[in-house]
Symmetry: D4
Subunit: 248 residues, 8 copies
Amino acid sequence: MNAQQLQELLEDVREGRTPVNAALASLRDLPFEDLGFAKVDHHRALRHGMPEVILGQGKQPEQAAAIAKALLAKSPNLLLTRATAEMAERVVALTPDAEHFPLSRVVRVWRDRTILGKGKIAAICAGTSDLPVLEEARLTAEVMGNEVETICDVGVAGIHRLLDQRGRLGEARVAIVCAGMEGALPSVVGGLVGCPVIAVPTSVGYGASFNGLAALLGMLNSCASNVTVVNIDNGFGAAYVASLINRL
Amino acid sequence: MNAQQLQELLEDVREGRTPVNAALASLRDLPFEDLGFAKVDHHRALRHGMPEVILGQGKQPEQAAAIAKALLAKSPNLLLTRATAEMAERVVALTPDAEHFPLSRVVRVWRDRTILGKGKIAAICAGTSDLPVLEEARLTAEVMGNEVETICDVGVAGIHRLLDQRGRLGEARVAIVCAGMEGALPSVVGGLVGCPVIAVPTSVGYGASFNGLAALLGMLNSCASNVTVVNIDNGFGAAYVASLINRL
Amino acid sequence: MNAQQLQELLEDVREGRTPVNAALASLRDLPFEDLGFAKVDHHRALRHGMPEVILGQGKQPEQAAAIAKALLAKSPNLLLTRATAEMAERVVALTPDAEHFPLSRVVRVWRDRTILGKGKIAAICAGTSDLPVLEEARLTAEVMGNEVETICDVGVAGIHRLLDQRGRLGEARVAIVCAGMEGALPSVVGGLVGCPVIAVPTSVGYGASFNGLAALLGMLNSCASNVTVVNIDNGFGAAYVASLINRL
Amino acid sequence: MNAQQLQELLEDVREGRTPVNAALASLRDLPFEDLGFAKVDHHRALRHGMPEVILGQGKQPEQAAAIAKALLAKSPNLLLTRATAEMAERVVALTPDAEHFPLSRVVRVWRDRTILGKGKIAAICAGTSDLPVLEEARLTAEVMGNEVETICDVGVAGIHRLLDQRGRLGEARVAIVCAGMEGALPSVVGGLVGCPVIAVPTSVGYGASFNGLAALLGMLNSCASNVTVVNIDNGFGAAYVASLINRL
Amino acid sequence: MNAQQLQELLEDVREGRTPVNAALASLRDLPFEDLGFAKVDHHRALRHGMPEVILGQGKQPEQAAAIAKALLAKSPNLLLTRATAEMAERVVALTPDAEHFPLSRVVRVWRDRTILGKGKIAAICAGTSDLPVLEEARLTAEVMGNEVETICDVGVAGIHRLLDQRGRLGEARVAIVCAGMEGALPSVVGGLVGCPVIAVPTSVGYGASFNGLAALLGMLNSCASNVTVVNIDNGFGAAYVASLINRL
Amino acid sequence: MNAQQLQELLEDVREGRTPVNAALASLRDLPFEDLGFAKVDHHRALRHGMPEVILGQGKQPEQAAAIAKALLAKSPNLLLTRATAEMAERVVALTPDAEHFPLSRVVRVWRDRTILGKGKIAAICAGTSDLPVLEEARLTAEVMGNEVETICDVGVAGIHRLLDQRGRLGEARVAIVCAGMEGALPSVVGGLVGCPVIAVPTSVGYGASFNGLAALLGMLNSCASNVTVVNIDNGFGAAYVASLINRL
Amino acid sequence: MNAQQLQELLEDVREGRTPVNAALASLRDLPFEDLGFAKVDHHRALRHGMPEVILGQGKQPEQAAAIAKALLAKSPNLLLTRATAEMAERVVALTPDAEHFPLSRVVRVWRDRTILGKGKIAAICAGTSDLPVLEEARLTAEVMGNEVETICDVGVAGIHRLLDQRGRLGEARVAIVCAGMEGALPSVVGGLVGCPVIAVPTSVGYGASFNGLAALLGMLNSCASNVTVVNIDNGFGAAYVASLINRL
Amino acid sequence: MNAQQLQELLEDVREGRTPVNAALASLRDLPFEDLGFAKVDHHRALRHGMPEVILGQGKQPEQAAAIAKALLAKSPNLLLTRATAEMAERVVALTPDAEHFPLSRVVRVWRDRTILGKGKIAAICAGTSDLPVLEEARLTAEVMGNEVETICDVGVAGIHRLLDQRGRLGEARVAIVCAGMEGALPSVVGGLVGCPVIAVPTSVGYGASFNGLAALLGMLNSCASNVTVVNIDNGFGAAYVASLINRL
């Protein structure tokens, strides 16, 4: 509610077009539903163009299911990430349209498949072990209304595998690049394409990878200027931002 | 050069339309100029839509000046970041159009002021001490052809200052948010706007800020889904990506 | 025992009002009971106005039960935090008044429900996943004699949810704010209220949250001046200090 | 502005007691003065009971002086922390009442010396090298209207020095404890007193003190339950919160 | 494919000796087999003189088995490292020649036992707990065609055990040294031999070993100039490089 | 073997008192027994006055048992630390004199109970949760021939509990102090006693204790000059050094 | 003051042998002199057998000089460590017996040269760059009444240099070992000698030495059981403990 | 001296061919010259095939000069790394053949220019700012008798610049790759060549590069198997090992 809308509301009140109680309600009743342990935001789609997504991690299975139920009452699609097995079972039981992806721990209801993005999102990963993060990104981007092109196993130590994909890379409007270990792939991809690159460090690796820290630091220090970074293993976040960009 | 272009080139060679030497040249002569200590990339503008930018840090003043001279020979605009005083002096001496911004340590030549971005970029900072990073971002976004709206001193501990700017925030097509200390501003801005937010942790703070690490970690863990992150104090990088997005 | 009391004691000895043995005892017999593996402090209530609390972590179930038994012999209330399931079972078996809260791993005996605090303590958390820490704080503050107002799921990325609670926030004499991920909530709350804010970083998050380190650093660097911080997930400690403040 | 005040304002507008423009102003004109590079908050005293304080670090000397001038126009007292020598010189030049404390890098104007705190604040430090942080805390607490009792050089390796001060410790309503190196003093003080203890890790030490990190971690892990922690060297923040508590 | 080969190919096209389609294929068809989730690189042996090795970590058992099957179709030998029990079972089932080494979690097919190295590789470990890493190194070096001399339990705190092995050390053309805890062994060995030493920090230790970080840092700071380092527990990598060196 | 002994040996050889073969043997046959995977050092008692101790961690149960068997053949006493349950079972089966201490994961054979230390070793711990480390220290010190005085649950937040033990503290010739969390106890003990204090950080704590790192850093930065430090949870090492000191 | 002394004092009071005032004084007047900013402890020699030492770091020059003057009034010897040039100048001016050692930044007055240690202390360093720390240790050990044997430049990468010193090593009753970089020397020395070894990590090194962290971690993880560790560059602390041990 | 040589020496003594004194000398007189503060190792060339190199860092200028003088007395070549300006001046004054390279802080005497390496060493760096480390590597490799091919400014974000150098890369027998920021270059080079790659992380970068830590971690986690790593900025060490390899 910006200044102009406020002025109009106040004028409506003065003119008696809007009663005080109604004005008060419209100023106070913020657009969420209170479940007690959670405040479900039904208007996020209005504000951000995206339905609310449930981060399963740290929630009790019954909490996640209750939030999912509340969201499904108002939205055709649903995305639940980092679901435990029990949580997934409960949410899948809510509707026959729900699908569980165990590799990425995602539960998705994808009834409204309208394409909202103006171009393709390229979703790229360095190695086979990065696939769970790539899948979370792909599932998110799809449910957000994007066409997604996935390119797998193109790590920088075999640069010819990546160069072989330059055609597909060049068609992307925005790229998501997932890599663990040294996390060098976004820099190389960033140099090959002219579009924004969203780098996702993955926790793939061992020893001095420190559960993705090495990849994260590498990506933050990328010498390619078109690279921004999200949290380790945050395929969802990368796809969310890529979707926003792809709608512009 | 993708597969189709390669096929065309090969067919040209077969048909004699392109001599072997010329084809060889077009395949081999990569678009950079070799200064010995540096390979200047004149075609970046073609590939990425942006002229090459000089990162002054770690370079000798005469190296930076030589690269700047080579770039100015082919490009109307120039951006040199993290310039030392001596380096700035040398580059400013190259052309009367060069301007030195000591706060952000930027030298800029901005002759071609064509607007290339489709909307406004909001450049926001939490406190007065973040201004050097904000300035680097603004100068970069401008030279890349964007209209920039700056909003200063709207740290989260005085949330009303930020809320007062909601109108201007709402007009942005992409937002750059610079903050040090706890780095919370991007999360709050991210919740207020629906556009992509590029978070820039700054090294502002002391003690347990660990030169920007606290802000960096905070931004990577943002609970707002539309936030991506660049390196500490990397106002340039944030503006570069924001420019790419704003052209889409 | 300060200098004046010491002088009085010595004068009592000189005058024969107190025999040497008794004086010796009152000087030596410090107010704890020695269980061998633990020294139970019955006089903490006298010194600090709070009964001793058992930190279950790292203790054997039978050790925790023995300490609980010793404390229950002299105190109507009991608080055991970070209890394992087996430990909780043993302590609950000591008295029918004991209650086990599995989410927060607390066992509590709350017979004496006298209100000792002069106002309300607001206990606030950013997301549903922070509820275990919030519950530990609430249970502690209650058993310490406080009226507690809980406010849940008001993370900074949906700032309107928090602003909607300004009325309740304004009534607090001291606030406890639990948040994981970027840990930004205490800064925003700190700006909205004039009372002391005790920030509790939680281990909620993944990747670069480093089990609460990101939130901890964020809170330590808060730009709101009325914020102090306790250890990660230390809901108990926050409530303990809040109780002390609320009695002033 | 809470819901009730909003209702009253709206009713005033409806009844014509308040014109739309005036209501708009009172809703929009947030209580700060915009200097361009900074938004000076004159109403903080109303909201938080404390005048705004200037953190000198990271600001240009002329920026700090401009903010100081704006604040002095409306407030009898002024506090500027972490002032560089040049900055201090500029601010001291604004008024003959300004005093510069080079050890703690504070500039203070202390015209209104009303006592607002209900009791004494004990400000304690472990060693001589912690004195700059202690001084920042003392100057802050004084200008905030508190009586401050300072106790120096009572590090835990000579526990008798501290025990000798138990009488003075016992008179405090809230204690600030500054310590570097292993940062153990707050735990010991916390056990000796029943009041809230605000621990300030200092950057005093060398080697594995890592500029105060060791002390910070020690304090966060204090086995005394009445201890909360602020950032390394943040004497100001500790005194600010202690002042809030002392007014309760 | 270097410039000369490119010229020859182009001339072949011009002269009609190579049709456009064939040239296109030889330029585009990079030497890997695409399994969808992985691109198997059969020509690595040509490029690097070593068959591709499967890093089991992070892969699904069926993925590892599929890659193994594809490799075994073209190569007599196979190396799978960091295999889970289930993964090992699946790969061992592919051929009776496969051998599973549970201590080091390696599966190996070693049919072609040609010696390719010109001398001996010494594989040394500091303590019994380092044996899994040493075994991974030995199995790798053997399948790469080297004669390996293993020397165990010669930690630096019993320097005479190591000195007793000087004869065998002196015969090595390259040495692999595995050590956990303080990781000092490579420095001592480096001083005793004149050949290159590849240091492998192991995660053996506890407390401040931080899972191998202490050993890693120690080795990176070795005062012996002939030491280079690989990742924690990376016996495979050390043996791979040692094999390359031993073929020179 | 120092220069003088070498000279004597050489003279014996020259004079024919020692045959070449015998001299060679005495120079080459270093005093260990080679089990292949381990070199058992029977002469450590000669060199260091202590029998070799088996660190169970990282060893296979059968390896530990084989080393134990070899040592028991030549030594009346045996100490195995960090034994897994299976490892303990195997070693206990070797002799009816073996005793298993599950809390500290120690297996001990203590037949020769000669007192070798000249005074008492005080073994002190801050809290009940530190008891496993204290027990490892006590068992070690006893088997090394020392009288051990244990003092438990004297954390610094209840300083009177510790001061109550000053008499017993004063009788120690060397003190071992185990503490987790903030690790402040060694500093306080160090100030109370004049003897060497060996500090053992324990991994007791949570959150920002980082598994003992906070305690470790605290102890390394102790303001008491008579404190040295061993690795986190290394009760054995502390007792080993305390034993060496107590024999002086 | 232990329980027995307390009983005697009380009996003296009862019998009138000690007046109340005198008893009060002896209980209250702890043995330090209060300089305001510092409490000088003259009785440390009584309690710990060592005069108080001034740590110059973080003190103002005039503070250090005032403390030195107070100590010199009661003690023949003086040790000031980490003195700045200005601080050293002021303290040297106090007495012609004062000597300044710029390499180690020590000022020493060494009038009473009584030997109190029962044997020799070996002070060993790995490289030339470790000499400042070694000197601090030597100067401390000497002023504490010890005969010190220094052994320099015996880093582990040239193990023969160290083995050549085995005779001198064997004569030590306690050893101090200073090393930077990988910090391996204490482990090797620990294996060669049977006496306690006090390891001093130095900040010598670059890159991944992280100012001594690598050496510190290495020493804490030493596989030699007779090694304890002090803070980085803490030559003083090592010598202090070595002196305590050498007096036993 | 191995067992066989020892036997021969002993037999010589028995037969009277070698007097006891002479044998003693040959056993004791280790091949170094003792300057007091340093033991200069003249026989390193015999043992390791390389003259001793002086690491200037942490040494006093006069110490470095004295060591240089001693080495020059026996060796035609000299290498001093990390020389301060004053140190360089003193060493350059020793001989007209000495050359100072201020960019890399190296002083070199290169009289004997015999080529000892069997092939070329490629020395590659990612950016202009890495040149100082590259120069240290080149100067070292040259003085060690190698032909060095340098390739500059081929960072991975402009992969075509690197691919353009594949011909020169392919000719190397061993490669040194210096890179700061994300440190990705060694992985890409490692995939392009079949020879050993020695990766040198440089401290080039800012913010989350943490002075080379990001590059170091990236290189340790390289997905290219032929990569080993040396310390940050350790161009000397990389060249030393490359020289050893190139002589094989």
